[in-house]
Structure formats: structure tokens, C-alpha cells
Subunit: 322 residues, 2 copies
């Protein structure tokens, strides 16, 4: 019982860190939170767990970990076109380390305040370090982006640049020769791994234009394939068109392309819309997106523009038509 009391102190620790919203009738401190959802919208909700040693290095900055744990969930709301509103936190900790907790909470609050989302409940337990966040937001049923909604002829677009987080991971794992990469570029790539920026503002600006969308957590090919499978369609992908950062381009061409296609953790958006919808976008929105291909009738991913990296062919991608 003493332990439970100690652990519930942590709830109090987090309770006042985030936005206080008008749609939250009752936040932390009772058996349930009470939310008054916006009328005539759907509630969009998504849950993700980050486990120490699996999804993050045990020695990662707790500030960055707190921020990222929320970011990956807000990214799912972005992929649905939903306006973020509130979240819960289930935190398992092997012991109570107040300095670590203060930093973790500050990182969480950093993004929560930026995105105006409120922590409404949580559970803190003793156990191996693990973070489960469930984020919820609002979107009308008609304007939600669904994986199954791609249409033949749609442009395939991605936000930001691809593969950076994968390069950051390789730097962290010391599996990358960094002798030719400047320190600033290494720091940039690590930032992309440890401090992903969910694309919620962009997603809201794209409501009404997007057909299908997903966020890139497992790598472009894997995530695009989810859209294609759900929509029962295929894609032509222009390998020469993939948006790459100048930092990533310091790696070999094969490595760069391989990371851009298959590395996870970028949390950029991959979405489809008609060519007309894209050309009607305001310039400041359109310039945040790069067309990388087109939805087609023939199932599978059909590569154009460049040879597929050799290692991809070996890793089971050789059934794709190049």
C-alpha cells in the first residue's frame, strides 16, 4: 500500500503539466475522466506502447522520450485528419527516479502544450520501463482520412524527408560509418530519430483534399502497402522523386535509398489525393508535400526512376515489379 501511494503521487506530478481544455469535464483524480466530445464529430483514438530496449535505448534523454511517446500517438491522429484533444498515460517504472520523471514529464508537457492536448488520466505501475499513451481527437466521419480510400490516378505524396530517423538509429547503434558526415548533420539525423514532429497542423490543412493517409512509422514501403492493401490497388513509385535531406544524401546512394524506403520512425505522412486537389492546395501547404508516385489499378508497388537497392531485392522485395 505504501508503494501504491508513492506511485499515485506520480499522477499528481503529471496532473497540471498540460493544457486545460473546455471539453474536459473531469480530468485526473477520479475513477474515470469525463469528456464532453465536440457535437457532430467522431472521436478518433489510437494507442501505442514504447518498451525500453525495444523502441528506445534505456539511456535516451527522458525529455525526448516523453515528447516522442506523445508524438507517435499524435502522428496517428494526423494520419486520420483528426484534431488532437486529450490523452492518457500508462507508465511502468522499475523504480521512482524523480529527476528522470521530471524530465520525462517536461518533455511530454512540451509537446502537449504545443498541440493543446490535455492529459486526462493515467496509471503508474511498478514494472519494466514501458510507456503506453492513448491519444484522442476529433474529426467528422466524412473528412476522416482512411487507408481504404485511395483512388486510381491519385498522386502519392509524403511530407518532409524520408529515411533520416533510420540513419539516426544507425548512428546510435554505431552501425554507420560517420567519418564523412559532419557533426551538425549527425545531430540532425539523431534529432529526427529522437524528436519526431507529428504533422498535425499539416493534416488539418489537408482536410477535404486527402483520400487515403497513413503515417510512416514502419518505413515507406511497409506503410504504403497498408494503404494499397486496404484500397485493393497498386502504386507506381518514382525512386528518383523521394524527398531526401542533405544530411542523408551524404551516405551512399544505395544506403540512402534503402533507408528512405524501409526505415521506420520518420513519422511523416504518406497520403493520396487527386492531381486536381493537389494543384488547388495553397502554395505554403503544397510545398510541404512531395509527389512520389501515383495510385494504379495493378496490385503491388511498381518502381520507376532508379534501380532498387540490392539489399532490398534480397530482403524479399524481389516479388515487386521493378
Amino acid at each position: 500500500m505504501a508503494e501504491q501511494a508513492e506511485f499515485s503521487l506520480i499522477d499528481k506530478y503529471f496532473a497540471e503539466l498540460t493544457q486545460q481544455r473546455a471539453d474536459i469535464a473531469l480530468g485526473i483524480g477520479d475513477d474515470c475522466a469525463l469528456i464532453k466530445p465536440q457535437p457532430a464529430t467522431c472521436l478518433a483514438t489510437s494507442v501505442d506502447t514504447l518498451v525500453s530496449g525495444v523502441h528506445f535505448f534505456p539511456d535516451v534523454s527522458p525529455f525526448r522520450l516523453g515528447r516522442k511517446a506523445l508524438a507517435v500517438n499524435l502522428s496517428d491522429l494526423a494520419a486520420m485528419g483528426a484534431q488532437p484533444a486529450f490523452f492518457t498515460l500508462a507508465l511502468s517504472l522499475p523504480k521512482i527516479d524523480e529527476a528522470w520523471l521530471a524530465e520525462f514529464a517536461a518533455g511530454l508537457a512540451d509537446l502537449a502544450l504545443e498541440q493543446k492536448v490535455q492529459l486526462v488520466g493515467g496509471d503508474t505501475t511498478r514494472g519494466p520501463l514501458s510507456i503506453t499513451i492513448q491519444a484522442s481527437g476529433y474529426v467528422s466521419e466524412a473528412s476522416a482520412f482512411r487507408r481504404a480510400a485511395a483512388q486510381v490516378g491519385d498522386l502519392i505524396l509524403v511530407s518532409g524527408t524520408l529515411g533520416d530517423a533510420g540513419a539516426g538509429l544507425a548512428i546510435r547503434q554505431q552501425t554507420l560509418d560517420t567519418s564523412l558526415i559532419s557533426e551538425a548533420d549527425q545531430a540532425y539525423l539523431l534529432d529526427r530519430l529522437e524528436r519526431p514532429q507529428p504533422r498535425n497542423a499539416l493534416a488539418l490543412a489537408l482536410r477535404g483534399s486527402v483520400h487515403a493517409a497513413i503515417d510512416i512509422s514502419d518505413g515507406l514501403l511497409a506503410d504504403l502497402r497498408h494503404i494499397l492493401t486496404a484500397s485493393h490497388l497498386g502504386a507506381e513509385l518514382d525512386l528518383a522523386a523521394l524527398p531526401l535531406s542533405s544530411a542523408l544524401k551524404q551516405l551512399s546512394d544505395d544506403m540512402t535509398l534503402s533507408l528512405a524506403l524501409t526505415a521506420g520512425d520518420d513519422y511523416e505522412l504518406c497520403l493520396t489525393m487527386s492531381e486536381t486537389a493537389f494543384s488547388d492546395l495553397p502554395a505554403d501547404i503544397a510545398q510541404q508535400l512531395t509527389p512520389i508516385g501515383r495510385i494504379c489499378q495493378t496490385p503491388g508497388i511498381h518502381f520507376l526512376g532508379k534501380q532498387l537497392p540490392v539489399n532490398l531485392n534480397r530482403e524479399g522485395y524481389d516479388h515487386f515489379q521493378v
Copy 2:
């Protein structure tokens, strides 16, 4: 990537086990679930984590574990007076054991179908065995049971019997002399630990009558104290009135009382209402509740009826007025 594909198969495993509800616009399989909340109600939501070795024995029946993981969350909805509707499951598994998963899923589905709740999303990750469920339901803001709403003169009532799960735990931990307890009674006490029945139907029948409520997860004294603290009031508790099962009463008087007051995991409801409201309840509802005391102005818990067990005085309860 192969592993992620394997783990996402588990989502499919769970996807069709539960109720399909009209208020779920989109369930498992996209970036978010989409829910159309009932109009003019609040959404009540609660999250709880069960960690192997902390909250359950690693060798517990996976069927019972799946059922209990959902039960403890539905119990929070009962404590709020909310009608259960949907839930998410974040499951960390050290490895994929299909027989274990089938049993776990069946246990989860058993209660989900009974309570008409739908699994709308989840995340399966590799990691130490841990289960986080977030359950949501509906209740109007006016009829929600809140911890802070107790009033002076209210009866304090509990559902079911107290202390049984604690005795079940002691049997499991082999810290109890079971020579005088029949096998049937031992099985009953273990059932109360491993197969708690959330009191959702009772809670809905009590809407409009209850002032404050909580579910008993940490023990009567600890949980009642949450109501008293939130309401800035005290309680007179009649130790002779605590509802005890015939199985539990086979233990010594001190042990019985100690478990009834401080053992957790019963998942019964503790609630307060006016004497008038209680006498106006239909007989079949009233008989599911036992009056055990009364809310008073003076802070603290004031014991009547019996001597407090010696071990409780030693464990820091001696600041209470007996």
C-alpha cells in the same frame, strides 16, 4: 519488419472477438478507431495496466487474465456510473505463444460479449508481459458518480462481500493455513481473486441515487479514504456490519476483518447515498448492497462495532479514532 508483421497478426486475432456496435464507425485496422459518441452524454474513460509478477502470477490462467484485465477497467466505469461501450488493448509479449494468446483472447471476449463492449484498437509489442486496457463508456455529466460528491449523513454502502480476493491471494502465495478451509471454499476465494465480476449492471441501476462512488481495488479503507479526501468529510464505519462471505469467515476474526478492511482486488463498489434514496431502491437492487456506515463531518475514519485488528493498529492506522 518480419517481427512487426508477426505482431500485427495478433491484432487480427483479436479483431473479431468482441461485440460489433453501432456507435463504432471504424474499428481495428486503421491509424485510429472512429467512434460516434452518444449525443448529449459524456465519454468516461479509464486506463489500467497489469504487469506480470506485480499484478498477476506469470502462470495464471490466460483465460482468467484476459477476463480480469478487462474487468478491472469496466469496474472503473461502474464506479463512475457509466455504460461500458468500447476499449483498446496494448499488449506486450516476450514471445508469441499461440495457445496462450488464444486463451487470453477468449477470456477477454468472454467479458466483452457479456458487457457488449467492442475492442476498437490496440498495439502489440515485444517486451515483458504487460497488459494495458483503456475502457470507455457513456454517462451524462449530471448522473456521473464522483468521489467528491459525498454528503454528511449519507449511508456508506458496499456491493458483494469484502476481503475474499485478499484471502485468495494469500492462498496463492501459500501464506494462509488452509487446513480448516474446504476445497470448495478455497476455490471460491481464488475465483474472487482471479475472476472478479465488475458491477456495471448494478451501477446503472443506481444512477440517480448515488452521491459518491469508487470501486474497491486497493482495499476498503484506502478507497473509502479517496472519497473522504475528495469530499472533505469523514466516515463512521461499523466493523460489525461488513459483508463477509461464509468462506472468509472460516479464518480467524482478526484475519477476516483485516482482509475485509485492507485487501485489494475485490472490485466491489463502495458508494454513498442518502438514507431516503436507499430506502427508495427496488428490493432486488437494495439487497445487492450492505450499509456499513455513514458519512460525517469530522475528518478521518471512525470505527464502531468491533475492535480494530491489532495488525492494523500497527500498520499506521492508529491515528484513526476508534
